[in-house]
């Protein structure tokens, strides 16, 4: 991981394609970007769960999870919610525009270790972004895993990310793909209810299974509770954290949860580790 190059200097990247996942004030826009430098592109090699500092020169950078699997190709994908100064600037970008990228940063989901196991992802809202690379990775290496179950929910159907991809996946009989929205809606014929209750309804067996969850803090809390009720052990449960970050490389100080730097020691933690960090759910 040690690099001789200046880790604060970002790579230039070209936005190849963009589209909105959701609308409204806090819209989520996805960017498909390609690093300009050939060598940087070849050496990038991110793993599912890792993040990157993306930004616009003159505005700043934000740490965003890389929402594609390396199995998808030589490009990167980021799904960004419009929230503050940097994400506003990112949302102005269209195909052909430039952004800056630094990374990949942080640890990753131990997908090698999970070979042979059932993979269960439980996402809520924008929390599906770090789940997506797991889903794509397992799909690409399906024969090496025991199966893939996805639970994904959002407030309304308009708040669901990656909808088209889910439509495709729902047709695939090998995958078990479950969508839910919080309140009933005209034209919605799938599940209505919160993600944690849907998890209980599906009643997955903890046998040889790894559960990964990401979403709003309140959802994570109930999902963890329910996973325990279903008999999952602490080391079968994973989540990914986020905190305010500036450097991404464990120097600037602010992203710590207890003694762990989310940017370097995380963002991926198993529940056994997380339980020992007093600030993890702060």
């Amino acid at each position: 991981m040690k690099t001789n190059e200046n880790p604060y200097i970002p790579y230039n990247a070209t936005v190849e394609d963009t589209w909105f996942e959701t609308g409204g004030e806090r819209a989520i826009k996805t960017f498909k970007v390609v690093l300009e430098d050939d060598e940087a592109r070849q050496n990038w090699n991110h793993r599912p769960g890792q993040c990157a500092m993306i930004g616009v020169l003159g505005v700043g950078e934000s740490m965003i999870s890389i929402s594609c699997s390396p199995t998808e190709g030589d490009f990167l994908r980021f799904s960004v919610m419009r929230m503050g100064k940097v994400t506003q600037a990112l949302h102005q970008l269209e195909a052909g525009d430039k952004m800056t990228v630094r990374g990949p940063y942080g640890n990753s989901f131990p997908l090698e270790e999970w070979k042979g196991k059932q993979i269960l992802t439980i996402g809520g809202g924008i929390g599906q972004a770090p789940m997506r690379p797991i889903v794509e990775y397992v799909k690409a290496n399906y024969d090496q895993y025991g199966g893939l179950t996805m639970i994904y929910g959002a407030r309304t159907s308009g708040d669901l990310c990656f909808k088209n991809e889910f439509e495709e996946m729902r047709k695939n009989e090998e995958l078990s793909c479950h969508l839910t929205i919080d309140v009933e809606e005209e034209g919605w014929d799938l599940n209505v209810g919160f993600v944690p209750s849907m998890l209980m309804d599906l009643n997955p067996s903890p046998e040889n299974t790894i559960a990964i969850t990401c979403g709003p803090p309140i959802m994570i809390r109930f999902v963890l509770e329910n996973l325990k009720k279903l008999g999952f052990e602490d080391d079968q449960i994973y989540t990914t954290l986020e905190n305010r970050m500036k450097c991404g490389i464990g120097k600037c100080g602010r992203c710590n949860a207890g003694g762990m730097y989310v940017c370097k020691d995380g963002p991926v933690f198993d529940y056994a580790t997380l339980k020992a960090i007093p600030e993890a759910f702060a």
């Binding site: 200097i9 929230m83 600037c252 003694g259």
Partner: protein
């Protein structure tokens, strides 16, 4: 490594020899004693306990350009760092702090700016003969004549300074100024021991850190954090003036068509430091922020880098506007263990 004597009458000549390089020494600037460049002909005085601002800004400037770029440009220019600096009159605690901070700035990723500035600096220390009121360096692994992080140590022997080279850089400095120096005698070394022992005796404050790093996690919900943070104003003085505090913010600045990305000192005592864009703040009040400051220095840093991130310089005690006192906090921690 050699040890030589410098008669104080030759002090101006000694300084004169060094001002050929970029020489930084304690000076009154903006009504405070801080390290600043010494102009030719100027003569820094060494009769101080310690500077208000630690010399960390020489290796970690308060504001530092990471790179420059043109508005709407894609190319970035990194600053060239090649000016050698001699830091003269560094107290042993401040020199030790850099050794401690080195661990963070080289943790997996080398911070190129910090690393380069560290290479370029020669640290000439001055042992303490008159420790300050709130000094407690021996409690945390230092001492009035600790040489950790120094290239050369000076000890005030009255008429003379004893100059001891600690590293090759220090040895080179002695060689460069050899014509001004005299050989030491055994009596000088005895004198040094006496000065240092007397200085150590004058240190009145202390804390026994034994058990604190392992004990702090268990005190997470303890009422002591409420007590010790109740009067905190969140001004950040304790962290800005702390020689081991190293947190920073990164911001882009534009003037005309010229932009730069720069980093500036930041403080974990500020609300904005951890504030998420959503409005959520994982450390929403001064209680959580005070608890984090103490845990970072006396628990997290020990876990990661095997050393307490506090050198006992006493600045945070001396300069806190509401008299929050880290030695008192640590005492309460000990009592609660």
């Amino acid at each position: 490594m050699s040890a030589m004597l410098l008669n104080k009458e030759k002090w101006p000549d000694f300084v004169g020899k060094l001002t050929g390089k970029q020489l930084w020494a304690p000076q009154i600037k903006d009504e405070q004693l801080r390290f600043a460049p010494v102009a030719e002909g100027e003569e820094p005085a060494l009769d101080y306990k310690n500077t208000r601002v630690p010399p960390k800004n020489v290796v970690f400037p308060q504001t530092e350009t990471l790179f420059r770029f043109q508005v709407d440009g894609e190319e970035v220019d990194e600053p060239k760092l090649d000016e050698e600096v001699v830091l003269l009159g560094v107290r042993p605690c401040d020199a030790r702090s850099m050794v401690i901070v080195d661990k963070l700035f080289s943790w997996d990723y080398d911070d190129p700016y910090y690393a380069r500035r560290r290479e370029l600096v020669t640290m000439v220390g001055l042992a303490c003969s008159e420790p300050g009121l709130n000094c407690f360096c021996p409690s945390v692994g230092g001492g009035p004549a600790s040489t950790e992080g120094l290239d050369l140590l000076m000890v005030d022997l009255g008429e003379n300074y004893l100059l001891e080279a600690i590293t090759e850089k220090g040895e080179a400095l002695i060689n460069e100024t050899k014509e001004l120096l005299e050989e030491t005698r055994d009596a000088n070394l005895e004198q040094k021991e006496k000065v240092i022992n007397e200085a150590a005796q004058k240190i009145k404050r202390s804390i026994d850190p034994e058990g604190i790093p392992v004990g702090l996690p268990g005190l997470w919900e303890d009422s002591l954090w409420q007590r010790v943070s109740a009067s905190c104003l969140g001004c950040g003085t304790c962290t800005f003036l702390c020689p081991t505090c190293h947190c920073f913010d990164i911001q882009d600045e534009t003037e005309g068509f010229e932009s730069r990305r720069c980093r500036t000192w930041d403080s974990c005592m500020f609300e904005e430091y951890t504030l998420h864009t959503s409005g959520h703040n994982p450390r929403p009040s001064r209680l959580e922020r005070t608890r984090n400051r103490i845990n970072h220095k006396y628990n997290y840093y020990v876990d990661k880098f095997d050393v307490i991130a506090c050198v006992g310089c006493g600045r945070c005690i001396n300069l806190c506007p509401v008299n929050i006192d880290i030695v008192e906090i640590l005492k309460q921690v000990k009592e609660a263990l």
